[in-house]
């Protein structure tokens, strides 16, 4: 069975808590909070004003540039406020507040459960529809999807790689999506293949989801030019570069995009959103979130409209467990620990909520580096984490740049594996930020 070639670790997957829990609809909130930045790239500009009535699917904020994504209203009601808002990590931003009234959708959106198989649109029209729907990569990076579908001049896509890996421990939303909406995913893949002009698609799924592999293989066999590739369980296989390496054996060079080796990667959740946007005219207004943890009463996979305060999703899962130490937005390897949950809405970026108990939340105490080199063995980018951390400590940013700190993908393998429990990434992240700033400055001066 295939996998990526350099580094990687093997954390306990802990998916048993929420695996195979059917996707459950989360009820509509009384008030929806829609942050104006839910993607990588330029911020959006609000096109509604206070007092406006909006329907589900109506444009709330338009993309602020090429690398940006529209935000459509996930609820119907009245815009009460557009202004300051603070996220669960304490970062300030702008958000649109909507008082929810009823559930009135734009008439062109097809809300029937019928599966629509035929797509006669031209590639250009497909990409426009995806852009209008505000679709971003739902695997975690939130990069606007339509940008990926328009390769820069001179570059040609050869293969579409579908990310069904879900290598983060605990998370099961993509797994469940493949089980429940496999047919729609196959249609979505065909649509994207058409938009890209490629005749080959590979769905990469890790071997711990055998039922999904079986189900998708059956569906893929009935369709043209789609193959399912079971992958050996290994973190961070869901990383774009690692997945391309695992599926087609090509390594994207440092600093380059996947298109350099002819690949475009999209997550299954993104592809489901593409299907809904192109075939059902439904913009990206909801996503499946996994709410899980050892002590969560009803862990599961919930379909949540954006803007819904996460407290309501948590209530569905049985509330915050009594001994909770950390609440993590996302998975345990790369997710961010939230300071609080109040006022934090579901949004395009949030793939799950993980509750860790007090005991699970304590980081083990740091000891002296014993120079075992296990971080070097574990690094999937072939870097030397012990050295990068040390160079940052010494403020040697030139050296950091020379040792390719910018290639670090933040996966956390080095910290996970370190026997001395050293918090290498705590040093590498600021070093990367600093070198990034130096590089930008240098480019600006040129």
């Amino acid at each position: 069975m295939r996998t990526f070639k350099i580094g990687g670790v093997h954390p306990q997957d802990n998916k048993q808590f929420s695996a195979h829990q059917p996707i459950t609809e989360c009820p509509l909130p009384k008030q929806a909070i829609i942050p104006l930045v839910q993607h990588i790239g330029a911020p959006t500009q609000a096109v509604v004003k206070e007092g406006d009535k909006v329907k589900v699917g109506e444009l709330l904020a338009k993309a602020g540039g090429f690398v940006s994504a529209n935000i459509c209203s996930p609820v119907s009601g009245t815009v009460t406020k557009i202004g300051e808002w603070t996220d669960a990590w304490g970062a300030p931003g702008q958000a649109i507040f909507i008082d929810v009234q009823g559930d009135e959708w734009l008439p062109e959106i097809d809300r029937t459960p019928d599966i629509i198989r035929q797509c006669t649109l031209e590639p250009k029209a497909i990409i426009d529809k995806i852009a209008a729907a505000g679709i971003v990569g739902l695997g975690g990076a939130c990069f606007p999807t339509h940008v990926k579908l328009l390769p820069p001049p001179g570059k040609k896509a050869e293969v579409l790689i579908v990310n069904g890996v879900e290598c983060e421990p605990y998370l099961t939303c993509d797994h469940q999506l493949m089980l429940e909406h496999g047919e729609e995913l196959i249609i979505g893949i065909q649509i994207l293949k058409k938009a890209l002009g490629v005749d080959r698609a590979i769905i990469g799924i890790e071997n711990n989801k055998k039922d999904a592999i079986e189900h998708m293989t059956k569906l893929a066999n009935a369709s043209l030019g789609i193959e399912v590739m079971p992958l050996k369980l290994r973190y961070p296989q869901g990383g774009e570069k690692q997945l391309i390496d695992a599926c087609i054996g090509r390594q994207v060079p440092s600093g380059a995009l996947p298109i350099e080796v002819g690949a475009v990667v999209d997550n299954v959740a993104t592809i489901y959103a593409v299907y809904e946007a192109v075939q059902k005219n439904k913009p990206l207004i909801s996503r499946v979130m996994t709410v899980t943890g050892k002590h969560v009463a009803k862990p599961g996979n919930y379909s949540v409209r954006f803007g819904t305060p996460i407290e309501e999703v948590i209530a569905l899962a049985g509330g915050v467990p009594a001994n909770t130490g950390k609440i993590i937005g996302g998975g345990p390897m790369m997710g961010r620990a939230m300071d609080h949950v109040e006022g934090m809405p579901a949004n395009k970026r949030l793939s799950g909520l993980l509750f860790l108990s007090q005991e699970e939340s304590i980081r083990p105490e740091e000891e002296n580096c014993i120079r075992c080199g296990k971080c070097v063995q574990a690094c999937p980018m072939g870097l030397e984490p012990y050295l990068l951390q040390r160079l940052n400590e010494l403020g040697m940013y030139d050296e950091l740049e020379k040792h390719d700190v910018m290639d670090c993908i933040d996966c956390g393998c080095c910290v996970y594996t370190c026997p001395a429990h050293r918090r290498l990434l705590d040093g590498i992240r600021p070093g990367k930020a600093k070198v990034g700033a130096i590089l930008r400055e240098r480019a600006a001066n040129k």
Partner: protein
């Protein structure tokens, strides 16, 4: 508003720890230790006990009273391991106070003077051993003949190791001492003279394989050392330096199975702190050790050169760490 714990990712950690690694190395040394107890009886038990206790005590005293550390590090078992490795490198009938001096030098000079675990450039157990070898050359080079618990601790019958004869044979071409060499089979199982823990190649290889399987060490260092030694020995044979009655194959066998080679290759050279971080660094490190050791064994003043070879290559580690791992997406020239 209830606040929760905020810390950067990752939020889970593997079960690896310094202590676990040290413990696994100690366990992997046990097969070889059992052979030594079987061969050398009380000598093996007493020497190892003194060495381990002295190492742990030295680390604790220095850290408590000289460095005035709040937190003691003896719990990570690295001092226990140093003590055990030092004992493995000593003759089993050596006087107790020599062991004590060795342990104090190993931990005090070899490790704590640099700031404790992770900071020392040289393998502490070997620093201790080489200090003793230079200070007490007679006691350090007379090895008891193993007779189990019948071997008395101090007045054991002693004899030279195969390496002594081997050197004599290669240097002088004198084949009259050939019959002094143990059978290769005995050398493999450990029925011959030598330092406390180095005699049984089989037991050491078993321990080494345990370490590789448990991912405590990688194959790079042991394999490159052993391959280099075998190649060097083969070249000696092909160059016609061996006397009548000694085939190249036999000679390779003796070089591989005698002296501290297996102990050094699997347990001493692979010491985390004093070996390189990257695969290529480790391979060159291993080749260097194998080569230097064979040079000392063939032309040097001592019959055995493993300790010196490892210490010399330890000094090269900062340089060897310049060998980068292969970056993702990088094409090798």
């Amino acid at each position: 508003m209830k606040s929760f714990i905020v810390a950067p990712a990752p939020h889970v950690h593997g079960n690896d720890s310094v202590r676990r690694n040290m413990l696994l190395v100690i366990l992997a040394l046990m097969p070889a230790y059992c052979v030594s107890v079987y061969e050398f009886g009380w000598g093996a038990l007493i020497t190892a006990a003194i060495s381990v206790c002295a190492c742990v005590l030295t680390e604790w005293l220095i850290s408590r009273y000289l460095l005035k550390e709040q937190k003691q590090t003896i719990g990570d078992l690295s001092a226990v391991l140093t003590g055990l490795l030092l004992a493995f490198n000593l003759p089993s009938n050596i006087e107790w106070w020599i062991v004590l001096i060795g342990a104090i030098v190993a931990i005090g000079v070899g490790k704590m003077s640099f700031g404790g675990l992770g900071q020392n450039p040289f393998n502490p157990a070997l620093v201790g051993r080489v200090f003793l070898l230079i200070s007490f050359p007679v006691q350090m080079t007379t090895w008891p003949i193993g007779k189990g618990f019948e071997t008395s601790y101090l007045d054991a019958e002693t004899g030279a190791t195969p390496l002594y004869y081997l050197k004599h044979i290669v240097k002088s071409g004198d084949s009259s001492v050939l019959d002094q060499l143990p059978a290769l089979k005995d050398a493999f199982f450990g029925f011959m003279g030598g330092s406390l823990g180095e005699i049984s190649a089989l037991a050491l290889i078993i321990g080494g394989i345990i370490l590789i399987c448990c991912r405590v060490i990688t194959w790079h260092i042991p394999v490159s050392i052993i391959a280099t030694v075998a190649l060097f020995a083969a070249c000696t044979g092909w160059a016609g330096a061996l006397p009548e009655g000694m085939t190249t194959c036999n000679y390779i066998g003796y070089e591989l199975l005698s002296g501290g080679l297996m102990l050094g290759a699997f347990f001493m050279a692979t010491d985390y702190v004093t070996s390189p971080m990257t695969a290529w660094g480790k391979i060159i490190f291993g080749i260097g050790i194998g080569f230097i050791m064979m040079v000392i064994r063939t032309w040097g003043a001592y019959p055995e050169g493993m300790s010196f070879a490892i210490l010399i290559m330890n000094a090269c580690v900062p340089l060897l760490n310049k060998f980068r791992p292969q970056r993702f997406g990088e094409k090798r020239k």
